[in-house]
């Protein structure tokens, strides 16, 4: 996502963005999530490029509001938050560390690479984030938020959420 040399001020912007937690899963930040794609200057205007996770994700408006507030605090008043759609956001961008944070928080991290997603194929059991057992059941593909499904573990008997590979 960042290949160019960063200026000191761009580094500051990235550092500040890295402090904004995902509003729904506060253990990971919006940078770890891969929502922030680029930071650019256009004259005096700071342009922040973000890509939506799910098309209809209500958290997107929150992301924008949080970014605007954080940048305003830093004194960057001329700000544009721009949505980009290509390349499409994917859970493949979550780092190993971010996935481990999710698991420790009690959310099973995405198990499949989305390139391996076949429209009409079944997905195997999702390992329990607490005891690691693969003896688990899918309860509902749609949980409290669009990005998570609901499962139960047949060994430790706890329900858990899965951050769907997407």
């Amino acid at each position: 996502m960042m290949t160019k040399e960063l200026t000191a001020v761009e580094e500051l912007v990235w550092e500040r963005l890295s402090m904004i937690p995902d509003p729904e899963i506060p253990v990971i930040t919006i940078v770890e999530l891969g929502v922030v794609r680029d930071v650019q200057w256009d004259g005096e205007t700071l342009k922040i490029f973000i890509t939506p996770t799910y098309t209809g994700c209500p958290a997107m408006q929150l992301f924008v509001a949080e970014i605007q507030a954080a940048m305003h605090d830093q004194g960057f008043d001329k700000l544009e938050v721009i949505h980009v759609y290509s390349p499409s956001w994917t859970t493949d961008w979550l780092s190993v560390e971010a996935k481990e944070k999710l698991r420790k928080y009690g959310i099973a991290p995405p198990v499949l690479k989305t390139s391996e997603m076949n429209p009409f194929e079944e997905v195997g059991n999702i390992p329990c984030p607490r005891c690691g057992s693969e003896n688990t059941n899918l309860k509902s593909q749609f949980g409290a938020t669009a990005c998570k499904s609901l499962h139960t573990c047949n060994d430790c008997h706890e329900p858990f959420e899965y951050f769907k590979h997407f």
């Binding site: 939506p52 799910y54 098309t55 209500p58 499409s88 994917t90 509902s140 593909q141 749609f142």
Partner: protein
Amino acid sequence: MNNQAALFQYLLQLGDTNLIIGHRLSEMCSRGPMLEEDIALTNFALDHIGQAEVLLHFAGNVENNGRSEDDLSYRRDAEDFMNLKLVEQPNTDFAFVIGRQFLLDVYQCLLYQKLSKSTNDELAGMAARFLKESIYHQRHSAAWIERLGQGTNESLGRMQHALNQLWPYTAEMFVDNPAWANLIESGVVPSATELKKEWYERVSKVLTLSGLNMPKASAEDDSLNQSIYLEQLLAEMQYLPRTYPDAKW
């Protein structure tokens, strides 16, 4: 029709189908047969309305006439909508909602898979995201088809009846509009007729597994009249922005 105008029409057709099914599903909010299903159907509605927002925004840019996604959604009349008639059909019972969704989900999976390889990067990026949403939708609706088909005589009968009622509206999915010939040729959009074989295979596999019969196609399927349902739906959906044009959230 030049390529920009054709692309505008194509995007309208994709966007309108999503907008209308999104609205139909939103009508199910608080009417699901159980809490999990209520959440699932409203999640579907959010995805479809989200896709419509993205597609109609893009359509507005392509048209370059200053119309936003809201203008296109709320300030057009029924005769200007290009959605599949399948998605206008009103929610009668749960089997009907699931049947309509399944037939659409399989189609959208195949369509978005092809569109994600579009020579238009922006369209390809959108389709890649929509595809993943449709995969989850299809998995869910297919599981319900199986459950209802293999449930009781009552659920089997209702599921079969719903599919028979819906079937004539599926022919429209596989008809190429002559105005899009250039778009197809230049690889911007896939040919709709190419989707039919795989769609048929997948649908018949799930129906057979569920103990359901494939409904019979009829010769009149291609020439169904505009249904009256769209006008009723739009009257409700567009009421507020048309009555209070300056209303803000």
